[in-house]
């Protein structure tokens, strides 16, 4: 029969010699191997202090984006909610009032915007569906919580800090330690 790979090694079935039967030599060989591992570099990432970088395509926790004037991009069109295969997104639209132009970019905005992080599968379809560049998947993940309610993220949790009024907090949220 032809071998499937060239990795297979024929097993030596000849009877063991006296020295092999003593096992001691092989035990010492094995111990040398384990001993050599004492000086090997540990691949461990010491987690809370030391974090591994995510890949650039990592899809993490959602953020709701603002434009360069600090206004919310979201117009509550609902395309993300439609695109969401896990039905994790709910929203309620509201009309922009007079004098709120510095808060919302367009005439309609999301009064309520909630993502259930227990339902979300982080597929990123909401990000693709959004015509207004309003929702993005960031490079962090949802932290642990004690209640299921705690995993329903509302606008306070999702909206990124205002670029103009709260630059330091934005930097912190981005993970760029000041």
């Amino acid at each position: 029969m032809q071998a499937l790979t060239n990795k297979s090694i024929a097993v030596n079935r000849s009877p063991m010699t006296f020295w092999e039967r003593l096992y001691l030599i092989n035990i010492i060989k094995g111990m040398m191997i384990t001993f050599s591992h004492m000086f090997k570099k540990q691949p461990t990432v010491r987690y809370p202090e030391q974090k591994r970088e995510f890949s650039p395509v990592f899809r993490g926790l959602h953020v709701l984006n603002r434009d360069e004037q600090g206004r919310e991009n979201c117009t509550a069109c609902g395309l993300c909610a439609v695109a969401c295969p896990a039905e994790a997104i709910t929203m309620e639209a509201a009309e922009r009032q007079e004098g709120e132009e510095h808060l919302y970019k367009e005439e309609k905005y999301a009064a309520k915007y909630e993502i259930n992080m227990l339902r979300c599968i982080f597929c990123g379809l909401c990000e693709e569906a959004c015509p207004k560049d309003a929702i993005y998947l960031s490079e962090t993940f949802a932290p642990a919580n004690y209640t299921r309610k705690g995993f329903i993220y509302d606008k306070n949790d999702l909206l990124i800090p205002n670029t103009l009024t709260n630059a330091t907090e934005l930097a912190k949220a981005k993970g760029v330690e000041a």
């Binding site: 035990i27 094995g30 111990m31 191997i33 384990t34 001993f35 591992h37 004492m38 090997k40 570099k41 540990q42 691949p43 461990t44 010491r46």
Partner: protein, 347 residues
Amino acid sequence: MTLLALDWAIIIEKLILIVIIVLTTLLITLYTTFGERKVAAILQDRPGPNRAGPFGLLQPLADGLKLIMKEEIIPTSASKWLFILGPGLAMTASLMTSAVIPWGTEIHLFGRTIELQVADINIGLLYVFAVVSMGVYGIMIGGWASNNKFSLMSALRAASQAISYEIAMGLALIALLMSTGTLSLKTIVADQAAGHWWNVVYQPLGFLIFFICAMAECNRTPFDLPEAENELNFGYHQEYSSMKLGFYLFAEYVNMIMSSAIMASMYFGGYDLPFFDETTVAPNIAAIIGVGTLLIKIVLFVFLFMWIRWTIPRFRYDQLMNLGWKKMIPLALFNMLITGAIILSKS
């Protein structure tokens, strides 16, 4: 009024010595458990426990605290007194060996000469052997009293293993006793310290046999059949919880330290620091150096135990018995014969 014509100071002196030895042993044991985890980790390219305190040094305290805080469970079907007796017996038996180990030469304090050995009995080796055989009672009683099939199975294994390897161990000791000509551990160590070669030079095969048997007596991997997790769940301490379990786990490490101390004393010169003339320094300093040397030797042996544990997989039960009865005992007999022949040809 003298009831007993005893030197009361010697009793106080010995009591203090016993307390110091037991406390030191327990402290070292505490850190041996930590060392075991650290050694295992380092051999497997892991960092090991490093969260509790600097370098994880408070880990043993955390472990102990956890064990104490756990609920104490005595199964309803267990035989209660034996169940409680088991861990205590295991611990006592393992600590009792420390009585005959010469920890150093002697210290001169307050005009008294204090021997750093609790009891220099002239049958030291026999005493060690007797106490080591007692060690299996803790496991047997614990396993039997648990009224659990796995525990019983494990206790049976431990008993048969201990009995099998004790024979070879005893035979290895007889060969040593033939070459040293004394049963007193103090004399054995003193002879080695007094310029002779260490006994391991005269008894290499005997040492190897004794070492393997000691490993089997301590239930260490590759001989940890009584604790074979994949076959027996947890072994003889399956039904134990809280500090009773802690005692069993602790006793294993105390056993390890004690057998290391015995091996260091009998084969590796005990408190003798090689290439160093003890007479050049003050006797008290020499004694302290001696104690330090013995401790270093113990640590090295304990490391060897751990190193072996994390290298070699467990034996199968028939392999264990094969090794014990068909290899170790004939080898030990052969060793005895050779020793006898050499002694005869010399005289």
